[in-house]
Symmetry: C2
Subunit: 131 residues, 2 copies
DNA sequence: GGTAGTAGGTACTTTTAGGTGACTATGGAT
DNA sequence: ATCCATAGTCACCTAAAAGTACCTACTACC
């Protein structure tokens, strides 16, 4: 087995936690990838526009995820302090860099989705066949 | 903004779900990255060896995660059917390919961790300063 | 003065992920 | 007979993530 092929650093974990684990707290979760994707596609996007683009997300979750993305510096929030309110979201440079990670994940998934689904089917069959 | 720089495919979601979201169900979660990392490092590893390498994981979670990784075809499980039991785990080719995804995530995290932590600090301060 | 649009916030509930501790089967050693 | 090691399973519980429904502030418009 070639040790140079794969996976993270050299220690199993830095201190307690894994870098990958930490990264997934920042870019993972149910909504962040699609929010990031939508903001990127639009360049600049307002709150309600975003909400309409993501019909299944609740207002609360959208706000919450945007706050986290803003806190971590992946997204920039500009409040124009007008009435009626106008708030615009866009990606920061860090957000754009995270985009390349999403892209890698996406490519991997697209490439191996069928394989994985076949594996699952075979696994299930082997379990129902002979427990 | 350069549309060619970043993020997944061209639609926000394939059907309901995102490819990235689906991928993270396969390779994400609290334990999978470190399990994969450990198995890779050892080449072949037995259950209890793995448990000792990951002192914080419970036996139940280890079994459960290994079953999912096996089901999805990232990990191969070989039961030698001896007594006392001897079961050996190793990565499949698909598992190795997932390693490159973990690697990308890991590199990104290592590169931007400080930036993210600074962003969080500044964000918190701006919130406590003036709400 | 009632309604609509904007960008949220709050309280409560459900669902999912993860954790704890005791238990099983097997055979060999003490 | 009892204990040990291996590789688990089972029932139960907590904590975190996500969802639902309703509320706020401000202004314009009718």
């Amino acid at each position: 087995m070639d040790k140079n092929l794969v996976i993270p650093g050299s220690e199993p974990c830095d201190d307690d936690a894994c870098a990958v684990r930490d990264a997934l707290l920042i870019i993972g979760g149910k909504w962040k990838s699609i929010i990031m994707h939508t903001v990127h596609n639009q360049g600049t996007i307002r709150f309600n526009q975003l909400k309409k683009s993501l019909p299944d997300i609740s207002q609360k979750m959208l706000t919450q995820q945007l706050r986290e993305l803003e806190r971590d510096g992946l997204i920039k929030r500009v409040d124009h302090e007008e009435m009626p309110p106008r708030v615009e979201y866009s990606l920061t440079d860090l957000g754009i860099s995270a985009g390349s990670v999403y892209k890698t994940i996406n490519i991997w998934q697209k490439e191996y989705l069928k394989t994985i689904n076949n594996n699952r089917k075979n696994y299930d069959e082997s379990k129902t066949d002979q427990g």
